[in-house]
């Protein structure tokens, strides 16, 4: 990877024992729009703000939640990512697309080998391994995205967060981005283990609403859900508006 002049890693330890590049990547992630995920008893919901930089942007073309695997409705895992609203041009959106591409590849390879849908943990492990590679290879930089991976497999609904460092965590509910501490406090208060998927969607909307600047509507947030049918869906703006009406 890279030519011989850059066969050394750009991510090196500081005297205090930190990997500064990864800290910077996490800062980049932390200054992006709020995203959150909630694991319910019968599914997982992922929600994110989708503030577009200008009214001239065609919002139908912007998709922050992408499906990862899709075969015979066995398992559908989807990733949502944490976007730096004005820094798309700096390579974070593309970072996300590269990761989605690699994860889709991994999932399909697994399926080709075993004719079974890939378990969520395995997919997360392999995606994390890719992200870790980019912190220890020559001439590359870490990814500027944190991923929220939600899925439903034989072990039930699962929610994982994968960081630029390559570490991953399983969450019952998690948030990332600008409003992360408020959002997490809110989720800690509101989360219950026996929450149903609909309750989780409501909670997700309320959490987003907490730190939202401006009027929240179906057009400036994106919500994806996966239920016991193991099929993920990105909710349409109309459906989101319905949930919003219920919440008020």
């Amino acid at each position: 990877m890279g030519d011989s002049q850059y066969s050394f890693s750009l991510t090196t330890f500081s005297p205090s024992g930190k990997l500064v590049q990864i800290e910077h990547a996490l800062t980049a992630v932390g200054s992006g729009q709020t995203s959150l995920g909630i694991k319910a008893a019968n599914g997982v919901v992922i929600a994110t703000e989708k503030k577009l930089p200008s009214i001239l942007v065609d919002e139908t073309s912007v998709q922050k939640i992408q499906s990862d695997t899709k075969y015979w409705s066995c398992l559908q895992v989807f990733l949502s990512f944490h976007l730096l609203s004005r820094k798309l041009s700096y390579g974070m959106g593309p970072d996300f697309r590269v990761l989605v591409r690699k994860s889709r590849n991994q999932a399909e390879q697994y399926h080709r080998l075993y004719k079974e849908p890939i378990p969520v943990t395995q997919l997360v492990r392999e995606t994390a391994a890719v992200m870790q590679e980019f912190t220890q290879s020559g001439g590359v930089r870490p990814f500027g995205v944190s991923l929220l991976v939600a899925g439903y497999d034989d072990n039930g609904p699962q929610l994982y967060q994968v960081d630029p460092s390559g570490s991953y965590f399983s969450w019952k509910a998690s948030a990332m981005g600008k409003n992360v501490s408020n959002a997490k406090t809110f989720l800690e208060k509101r989360y219950t283990d026996d929450m149903e998927l609909d309750d989780a969607v409501h909670t997700a909307i309320l959490t987003l609403k907490e730190g939202f600047e401006g009027q929240i509507s179906g057009k400036n947030i994106e919500i994806g859900i996966i239920g016991t049918d193991k099929k993920f869906r990105v909710l349409t703006p109309a459906e989101i508006d319905d949930y919003l009406a219920e919440v008020e």
Partner: protein
């Protein structure tokens, strides 16, 4: 003589009621000379999946080692055993990797899947899977085995009856094949136990 007939072998797997049986002969030969009379053709991958490999013995051994390796890694990563259908797919993929320089083996895979449903399948040396609901056969004695199994097989046999049927089918078929025989090795697997039995037939 074909490379598949170099060592001689006979394998059969049969489905019963919530159980399955997998059986093989015990002869290892080098063309017409008998080298061993206690050769193991069937191996356990885990408690609920068994693999039998017929054909060239060296390829059978190496393939078995590779598959055990893959399965152990799978167990470590996924913290669970492979289902028989999954294992069959893995074997098929591994065989096809060597499409233009294949392993000269014909595997027979038998296992208990979800809800203790018996699963059997066989494939050719380049991974073409053949699923069956009743029985599968492989090896130099396969033609005789087809005939014997077809006539002796019944649906939903209990483990003891299944054992008798498989044993009779195996012993009568290897008697018509000079390259396989010297006894039999039968495994009858139910959700609760695995019964391994050695058969004594015509020792020639």
């Amino acid at each position: 003589m074909s490379i598949f007939e170099y060592n001689g072998s006979a394998l059969v797997a049969m489905v019963g009621k919530n159980c399955f049986a997998i059986a093989s002969d015990r002869r290892l030969g080098v063309q017409l000379q008998t080298i061993a009379t206690d050769f193991q053709r069937i191996s356990k991958i885990h408690d609920r999946v068994f693999l039998g490999l017929s054909g060239l013995a060296t390829d059978a051994q190496t393939l078995y080692q590779r598959l055990v390796f893959r399965h152990k890694l799978y167990q470590l990563r996924e913290e669970r055993d492979m289902k028989p259908e999954t294992f069959a797919n893995l074997v098929s993929a591994i065989l096809y990797e060597k499409r233009f320089g294949p392993y000269f083996c014909q595997p027979v895979i038998a296992g208990l899947g979800d809800e203790d449903k018996p699963f059997i399948c066989t494939m050719d040396s380049i991974g073409a899977k053949e699923l069956a609901k009743d029985f599968v056969v492989a090896g130099t004695a396969s033609e005789s085995l087809y005939g014997a199994c077809e006539s002796m097989f019944k649906q939903d046999m209990e483990p003891e009856e299944l054992f008798e049927t498989v044993s009779q089918a195996l012993l009568s078929s290897v008697d018509r094949d000079c390259l396989s025989g010297w006894g039999g090795h039968v495994y009858v697997v139910t959700p609760t136990e695995v019964k391994e039995r050695i058969l004594k037939g015509r020792m020639d």
